[in-house]
Amino acid sequence: MKKKEPTFEERLARLQAIVTALEAGDSPLEESVALYKEGLAHAAACREQLEKARHDIRLCTETGTEPFDAGAQEEDE
């Protein structure tokens, strides 16, 4: 999980920075295009991250953790 891959927040921050840089409008064309592509990639990655985002819910037991299903244990008290 913790690779060199940038986090969602980092991507978002980078995307924001790219937009600001492009809006300033003084970069050469090639650089602008490169920035644009990078920005699009970040946006796509962020979106994919959001799509895939699922919470992994585990129950701590005496020995460790196990998958937790709230519905299964409903009202057994």
């Binding site: 937009v19 492009l22 809006e23 064309l29 959001l50 895939k52 585990r58 937790f68 709230a70």
Partner: protein, 490 residues
């Protein structure tokens, strides 16, 4: 005068004063005048000696449902009858609610939202005492509160694994965050052994040092149900915990001691989940917004460059000879066009002038014709008049001629007699006449009549005229007459 208020105004002011001064109060008293009409609202008064407070407990505030109508959370211990149903006259209650003014009856009253039997009053005192004590120790200090991590990836949840709280928490979090691992530390949150078990769970989570944040949650319940969270041991364990603690305890009224101690107190388990993670749709919107901004910025950048390119190429095209030729041809065309237009305008103008003139001429002709017709008429009249006049004149002449010969004869006669008279007078004036009476007339050599002796001199000749001839003589002397014999000489 603004000093005079209408009934509504004074009631409204009273209402504002009362409601702002007593937004939420706890009142203890003995129940009296209890009434339960079919509407479901409960009316009663709280009494102390000779003081009375009218109370109304509206049906919607009488919480004996399975769900909390506000949060949608399930009660931990199932449906239970509200005190509103079971209270009796004479019972001593502690009621919580707000004071308001009931304008229609002109009275103030308490709108009860919660009531406890007086036994709980003791708990309340304990609570206040503990709160003061821990506050004094600095457990509630704002400066100590640690910030919660944003979008945490590792969250420890301390709660009952079979409770509604964890279900609500999971349900709300399912649409939030970027995918976290949530570890549930199963812990009873109600009853005698709840406080030590909560303390253990906090210690374990802290020792594990895995989580970024600990959520301590429990669904709504009565004051007794939630009493574990007013336990001093729990509060101190939260305070000691090395990981930030977020509470989500479904209170109806006040915060618990644990809430005061926690780094952040959410109102309910659902709220705790909302605090921890942003809604994914909001994050998506942010990405969308950034992406749109990115596209726009990039397009603008391209547009700017494209525009510059176009400027340059247009300038280049303008400078080419072909363009100049085209431009000149256009100028020529434009000029020709203008020329033609000007010419046409000119012709048009002249044509119009000619028309105008011929119109004027026609008009004048017409006038002239009418004038010559009149003249002819006049000539005709004149001719007629002239002839008549001539005839008249001729007649006159004839008449006059007829009269003339007799008149002439008449005039001749008169003139004849006048002539005779004139002859006679003429004869009298004849210079030779006096000669017949003896006078003489002397003339010089040239025949001029001598009127003075000075006109001749001795030696010269004179002729003396007499009635029957003349005498030629020479002058021998001249004697001018003396003034006294002047008469004699003439």
């Amino acid at each position: 005068m603004d000093a005079i208020l209408s009934v509504r105004q004074v009631t409204e002011r009273l209402r504002q004063a009362v409601e702002s001064r007593f937004p939420y109060v706890w009142v203890q008293g003995e129940v009296t005048n209890l009434s339960r009409p079919s509407s479901g609202h409960v009316y009663f008064s709280l009494k102390e000696d000779d003081c009375l407070l009218n109370c109304v407990w509206f049906k919607r505030q009488q919480k004996d449902e399975t769900f909390d109508p506000l949060t949608g959370e399930v009660w931990e211990d199932g449906p239970r009858p509200s005190l509103a149903r079971v209270m009796e006259n004479g019972q001593t209650l502690i009621c919580a609610g707000r004071l308001t003014v009931y304008g229609a009856r002109g009275q103030y009253q308490m709108v009860v939202e919660l009531a406890q039997t007086a036994g709980l009053g003791l708990w309340h005192q304990e609570f206040e005492a503990l709160k003061r004590k821990l506050a004094a120790e600095g457990l509630f200090d704002q400066a100590r509160k640690r910030p919660l991590p944003r979008e945490p990836r590792r969250v420890a949840v301390i709660t009952a694994p079979n409770g509604a709280a964890i279900r609500d928490f999971i349900r709300i979090s399912s649409t939030r965050g970027l995918g976290a691992e949530i570890r549930v530390y199963p812990t009873p949150v109600q009853g005698e052994d709840a406080p030590p078990r909560i303390v253990d769970a906090l210690k374990r989570a802290g020792d594990d040092a895995w989580a970024e944040v600990i959520a301590l949650i429990r669904g709504g319940g009565s004051v007794q149900d939630l009493w574990a969270f007013n336990d001093e041991r729990v509060a101190r364990a939260v305070y000691r915990c090395p990981i930030p603690v977020l509470t989500g305890i479904g209170h109806e009224i006040d915060h618990s001691i644990t809430d005061f101690t926690a780094d952040y107190a959410a109102a309910t388990p659902s709220h705790a989940a909302q605090i921890l993670w942003q809604e994914r749709s909001v994050l998506e919107q942010r990405i969308d917004g950034l992406e749109i901004a990115l596209r726009n910025a990039s397009l603008r950048r391209q547009d700017t460059l494209a525009l510059r390119l176009e400027h340059v190429s247009r300038a280049l095209a303008l400078l080419s000879p072909l363009a100049r030729l085209r431009h000149q041809r256009e100028t020529l065309n434009a000029l020709t066009g203008r020329l033609r237009a000007a010419l046409e305008r000119r012709i048009e103008r002249d044509f119009r002038a000619v028309e105008r003139l011929s119109d004027a001429m026609r008009e004048k002709n017409a006038r002239l014709e009418s004038r010559s017709a009149e003249l002819e008429r006049l000539a005709l009249r004149l001719a007629g008049a002239g002839e008549a006049r001539l005839r008249r004149a001729n007649a006159d002449v004839e008449r006059a001629q007829a009269a003339l010969p007799p008149l002439g004869r008449l005039v001749g006669l008169a003139q004849e007699s006048a002539l005779t008279r004139l002859e006679l007078r003429l004869q009298a004036l004849d210079p030779f006449e006096p000669l017949r009476r003896g006078y003489a007339m002397a003339c010089d050599e040239r025949g001029d009549i001598l009127r003075s002796v000075a006109q001749t001199s001795p030696g010269r000749s004179v002729s003396v005229l007499l009635a029957d001839g003349r005498i030629l003589a020479d002058v021998t002397g001249v004697e001018p007459s003396r003034p006294d014999d002047k008469n004699a000489s003439t």
